[in-house]
Symmetry: C2
Subunit: 194 residues, 2 copies
DNA sequence: ATTTTTTCTTGACATATATCAAGAGCTTCA
DNA sequence: TGAAGCTCTTGATATATGTCAAGAAAAAAT
């Protein structure tokens, strides 16, 4: 099973091999330059991509500040789900932080799959439900954890990311300033050694 | 169109009248006592209900504190989506804050509808996607707004709730203490008059 | 109607986190 | 290789929010 097929399997669940082939055939592999915009806030999102290589940052402008919502890494996907599903202007801007290779399906084909593969809506359902539970975890973390605890938790589960991207963006997605992030980090590393 | 049919329409989208009838026929109306638990954290959630009347609080215990995630009012629904869809132990406890009347479908029937009504998975997909966008808004509010701004925003859109439930729970779902809530509230009302 | 319980407010104070400013260490790239 | 720009850290300080404690107000129970 190739990379893309595995992505589909991970997020959408299991389908017959021939259907899987059919699904993946709608994805086109493409290259993305560093700094290139996958989506700009306000546009209607017309595609969904899985990341083969490279890093994408999903963020929005709020007042005079950027709010990073997520950093997407190989194996993950990028899209603005709300915009894709409800045809609303995207909240998020999505930009490549590095050169990247992605597998992209456009919205038209994505919707078409629903007519082509009986089980497709069910798979989408699973996909979105997974996205939902991820957000639910995050809400809970904001309601119940301090900045330090959110840092710890994220660090435990995403160590690799810390030497791949500017830390200020991780700070933002955890809901703290770069300065606080830096201090929390120092404190955590001291605790870790001690 | 009755209340329940309208609920289905609002959350799941439009379907044929006969299919709608078929869907709603699986929901049973039932009474709930004040204080009764709809779901307890750790259980596997086996149902989904729409609220005809009454109020439910969705919360979790974190350390020695309760974290209120949401207060569900007539027209809304109650369930633990993650638990319902992935059969995992529920994170949330759901308790009736008042006497209540609800329309309930059990999981078995809910799943069965997928076999019965071709479009059902697609409707569920819409339902979950809506839930997703609500959470996305909330994440954004925690990443970009102060306690005061979150208060303001919630107040604008949910004034009625403020004289129906203990404010401490609203405080918690907005991620602040009752004391902070009280101060923010005072400040907001002064600004409002001035 | 009175008591009891719960909820809300307020003040004093503690702590967490943000802001501002400066400098150090990296990268990038000309 | 050196200049220019990022990025990260650190200190000083400000602000937002939490904690604790007490009392007032409101709601529920008797």
């Amino acid at each position: 099973m190739n990379e893309l097929e595995q992505n589909i399997n991970t997020y959408f669940g299991i389908i017959r091999q021939d259907e899987l082939k059919s699904v993946t055939s709608y994805f086109k592999e493409n290259q993305v330059e560093k700094g290139e915009y996958f989506l700009k806030s306000g546009q209607k999102c017309q595609k969904l991509s899985f990341i083969k290589s490279g890093l994408f940052r999903i963020y929005a402008i709020s007042g005079d500040k950027e709010v990073t919502q997520w950093i997407s890494t190989p194996g993950y996907f990028v899209t603005d789900l709300a915009s894709l599903y409800f045809n609303t202007p995207a909240r998020w801007t999505i930009q490549a932080m590095t050169e990247a290779e992605i597998y992209t399906i456009n919205k038209e084909d994505y919707v078409h799959l629903g007519k082509l593969i009986p089980k497709w809506h069910e798979l989408e359902k699973i996909f979105i439900a997974k996205c939902f539970t991820i957000l639910e975890d995050r809400i809970f973390s904001h309601l119940s954890m301090t900045a330090e605890e959110r840092y710890q938790f994220f660090f435990e589960n995403n160590r690799e990311l810390f030497n791949q991207v500017p830390l200020q963006y991780i700070a933002s997605m955890l809901g703290m300033t770069p300065e606080t992030f830096s201090r929390v980090r120092k404190k955590a590393s001291v605790n870790f050694k001690g």
